[in-house]
Symmetry: C2
Subunit: 762 residues, 2 copies
Amino acid sequence: MGIGKNIQRVDARAKVTGQAKYTQDLMTQPMMVAKVVHSTIANGVVTGFDLDEALKVPGVIKIVTCFDVPEIDFCTPGHPWSVEAAHQDVQDRRLLNQRVRYYGDDVAAVIAEDEIAAVKAARLVKVHYEEYPALVDVADAMAEGAVAMHDNVPDNILKHTSFALGDESFDEAVKEKGLILVDQTYDTQRVQHCHIELPVSFAYQDGNGKITVTTSTQIPHIVRRVIGQALGIPWGQVRVIKPYIGGGFGNKQDVLYEPLNAFLSLQVGGRPVKLELTREETFADTRVRHAIRFHMQGAVRPDGTLVARRVEAFSNQGGYASHGHAIVANASNMIKQLYRDEKALESESYTVYTSTVAGGAMRGYGIPQGDFAAECLMDDLATAIHMDPLAFRLKNCMEEGYKDPHNGITFYSYGLKKCIEAGKEAVHWDEKRAAYACQTGSRRRGIGMAIFCYKTGVYPISLETATCRMVLNQDGSIQLMMGATEIGQGADTVFTQMAAEVLGVTEDKVYIVSTQDTDVTPFDTGAYASRQSYVSGKAVKKTAEMMKEKILEYAAWKLKMDQQTLDIRNNMIVTAEGEELLTMEALATEALYSLERSVHITAEATSHCKENTFASGACFAEVEVDMPLGKVNVLKIINVHDSGILMNPKLAEAQVHGGMSMGLGYGLSEELMYDAKGKPLNNNLLDYKLPTAMDTPELNVEFIELQDPTGPFGNKALGEPPAIPVAPAIRNAVLQATGIGFNQLPMEPQRLVAAFKEKGLI
Amino acid sequence: MGIGKNIQRVDARAKVTGQAKYTQDLMTQPMMVAKVVHSTIANGVVTGFDLDEALKVPGVIKIVTCFDVPEIDFCTPGHPWSVEAAHQDVQDRRLLNQRVRYYGDDVAAVIAEDEIAAVKAARLVKVHYEEYPALVDVADAMAEGAVAMHDNVPDNILKHTSFALGDESFDEAVKEKGLILVDQTYDTQRVQHCHIELPVSFAYQDGNGKITVTTSTQIPHIVRRVIGQALGIPWGQVRVIKPYIGGGFGNKQDVLYEPLNAFLSLQVGGRPVKLELTREETFADTRVRHAIRFHMQGAVRPDGTLVARRVEAFSNQGGYASHGHAIVANASNMIKQLYRDEKALESESYTVYTSTVAGGAMRGYGIPQGDFAAECLMDDLATAIHMDPLAFRLKNCMEEGYKDPHNGITFYSYGLKKCIEAGKEAVHWDEKRAAYACQTGSRRRGIGMAIFCYKTGVYPISLETATCRMVLNQDGSIQLMMGATEIGQGADTVFTQMAAEVLGVTEDKVYIVSTQDTDVTPFDTGAYASRQSYVSGKAVKKTAEMMKEKILEYAAWKLKMDQQTLDIRNNMIVTAEGEELLTMEALATEALYSLERSVHITAEATSHCKENTFASGACFAEVEVDMPLGKVNVLKIINVHDSGILMNPKLAEAQVHGGMSMGLGYGLSEELMYDAKGKPLNNNLLDYKLPTAMDTPELNVEFIELQDPTGPFGNKALGEPPAIPVAPAIRNAVLQATGIGFNQLPMEPQRLVAAFKEKGLI
């Protein structure tokens, strides 16, 4: 029993048969429907409304505008609250905003008896604006005289940080004779999460006066807090319920529309109100992966020693701070952690408000951007010195035992080199590199790679706390309650395995409560930062150990034996030698119904995690570029991951498949585009090119399993890593195939054809 | 803060505004509808079905008959399970029954897409029977040659128990010279609970494969267990959710249709199926108060000394055992506990299967029947010796310190005499008794009284166990989770007050989770036996004390102070001297979000209650009898209760009002009648005479508050007692008014007119 086994997902049957309940499935009848009125300018101020026509629509109950909401600024990101003001998230938006900061900003909301009336009325709301120039790019926003998106940030630079490592400055370091220098700008684009289930919630006032919001979120306890903050009511008066959710990928790590939904319900006497976004709204009005521009400089000796790097990063934050500077800071830190710079590393990062949709959390949290820049630079450096890029990486990458000089995290276990070696073998790297060394013709092949590292959870930058509760059922089975959330990644299955492992019961005797309900669910900050199996897993382990002690204590009392001689195996109380004494069922029935000593055995424990560790890995991609078509065909791709001991190898593999698919879209086709006025151009799944199954090659996965001493079961992050190295691996394969390093994502046909034409290749 | 205050019900606003969610409000769409096919004979066997016509009804999905259900006999009553087979409830029914034991027995069920199709098809199901003679009364069932209702009980006597107290037998005791003897038979009738909300549930299979049943029940954890038993599946695979319920009064202390509902959902792949009874079904096919016939003999000295009593009780159980013999045993025990018999008390009790609807739990659990018999006898004895019945009772009633010789329970606090004195004064007993001593004419007045005693909870007859969990919210407020259930009686409010009292916070900072969900709610056997404020109250107290310790431990750590010097008052951490140090809000925020020591403070504790105590009280009724109309007008009525310290006097008063109203119907108008074939005659609210507000006089209430040393806050039972003494008090008032002792309930006009005619009074 327990960890390391390929048990079926605990929710597999429910999801396949449709029994799994999502937010939409839990709505009772009747329910009002709310629709948000979004701004149709990117930058400006609402000066007034004309609601007459909208109010005439039959079925309209109420229209609320930005002039009706509390004068409270709140923050949306899914971070643990900080008791210190300096570390709190930026509180820069209201339930509805008079100051419009992107095309789509929320300026009013209609509540109606049904969806048709709500949509119709929302379209008929006339909004009057004073319009300012759109600031689409970082350069626009940083330009002299640009309108301040937020009054307290006159230069639109939300935050600027820098660090330098090494005994010398970059400029001094590169004075060394014989160094080869590379100076490039790498651009990552704005992409969207594209979770299947759109943001949806419903709110009503409950029997005890609480405002209750059922929502598709990754972070129910944080949603509770933010609703309280946004509405200016005690947090305890808010209840948030999170059922199964159809994907989040970080977009549901922001508290997007739940506060407005709660507010709207209270505007109609606490009656149930539903608020569901369309796909178009989800693209335009929720969160995106930050477009970050990296100006990278690297200096290398001809022998392949990385001497110095300089990184300047400009992150396009959009109109609201959301996760803000944490994203680009994460990227810059990873660039530092991935390689040793013998003499110098300098890093400058800027997070800049623009008048586009806000950037937020998305699988990888800045690392895919940083990794693209770092790994493009590495191939460009290797190319410059005519060195094999794999050998170049092996020579310069960080190793086990590395301790980050800023946050103090040590690479306790670190299988990066083993991953590189395994991938090299799997793709026949040396043979392929040689075979593709020199090509002509309209179809050219290349093989490339990229590596990455990724820290597990957010300690010590932020709080890592998790609580678990277990309850003994009447039949000896176990209820497992987690504050941590299943968002499709398989967390429920892995927690079940962990509990079974420690308790000595079979997984079918562990019933995880998948729904989080902040009224009864133990506290946890939620699903993000690939933290759950590591951080929340520690809470499972601690609680299960406590639960086992309590069960054995009762068993010892009942059996009149020494507790130390007892154990649980295979749903039985046994002696240390394995002699079967009592079934768990008999024990539970006795414990509850004993006339002598009745006790409902439960256990609950918080694990405050003050450790962290690094996962790592590599992607290898073999491509064929159809040059006249500008089309990159991925012939073979493999991710090799160092994520510690795997709790469920099949689930781990599926997790990697999903991440690789996301990386393929990032590398080749996806981009949310804006026109010069700041209006989104392709905020729908027809025009936004999310790869389909038809676009996806066979996805290969290997793991290097090392026991991490800090993981509860030797495990470390796996949720986000798979998405990271794919785009740079493909870029580097295209570089080998065509000789052209594409420094701007995505590598879509138009861009490739233009480059090939420019270089006279077609 | 805390106990003894008249705080508003915590659910008052929700119930008034309609925000409170009942089972029906929680149903999602779409949902199938099930209807039960009931037998149209009272006694017999189903030999076959003809389903052709029923299956043709558009929308019918499936029809399940008694030939399709598991061959598992199960029990329905809401008792804690016993680990000893000898103490388990009688398992004598199946999900659907081939052996039909009352008119209305469940023989098949239709599942359809909507209610209309389900009802139509249920009517078209043709059932073939082999019919046996109906056994409506106990006498029929005990007659020589009567068909056995259950094969294992050939004489239809489910149970016969007896006890005798005193140094002599009753027959010897009554040989004493000069004794006055009374020998009467007192008959109580079959009544129904008439809760507003009909039995309703819906069932579906949940994400993790559990069969989940949301139901209007008093006993969610017991429903879970019984569903598991009835379906033959592990109890842990069942989840039961209990939202607000619209009354139960004991009828929802049986597991009525939840197992069938669960089974029907599983018959359609776990899809949601609703099963709601009509009022007619509720009367005919759920539970009733047992009709019990008491043959009572009493012997008294002319000075008013009660010398001996003999009780023979025959309880009409109906077709299934349900709560069975516990009801009449409870009645017989109370008759014993209410008065001292100087020489002898003999008791024989029979519980007899008949072919009518099963008797089950109903507010008072046998005591209203026993009290009617006991208190009629006392007035008949007092009349026989021309003694004031109040003085007669004061002379013979039990007093504080009495210890029951069978169950060992002591009357720790016992305010019965104080109740009698208070009532005597309130109604001007002596003046009224004198004034009404001798009357003629068509309208005659009388004043009467009755007393009772009532034990709190079920210890030591059965297990008393209760668990509570508390959780500290992010804002310093408290979540309070009880396994015990709010069923309209105000339990949630009182638990909130208890928690606030112990924790030192205001009630508005305590959020009770009113819904029980067996997946997450701590274990408790539920709402019955007036046990909750006493038994479950101990769990609140124990858990709150533990919670307070944990909060103060954290506060002491945070403040670097000695924990022993700290306390909580008015939502603040204070010193023993009351100096305010820290708000609960600041403490909670720190505890959760501290980077140094993050802990989610929660507490959970089981209280295994091994104590019991007795409540008592008296009812005084002044009536005017319109003799030609046979109509009893209650001019004044007052209940005086000894229920220990009151947690919330206003709620306590409301509780008494409800009970008195039930007692008035019991005394004057209610009876569920059957014809000779065993068919119910008036199973609807037109023909069944439930008193309306128009029939109800002003209800007066007084309390004698004594601190009971065993109650968690000095409190003891109040839920059921108010219903007990009303009917005999009215009967005794009518006795004074007319000289006729009505020995059969209800005292409805037809019966009165007949008696008055027979006696030549009209």
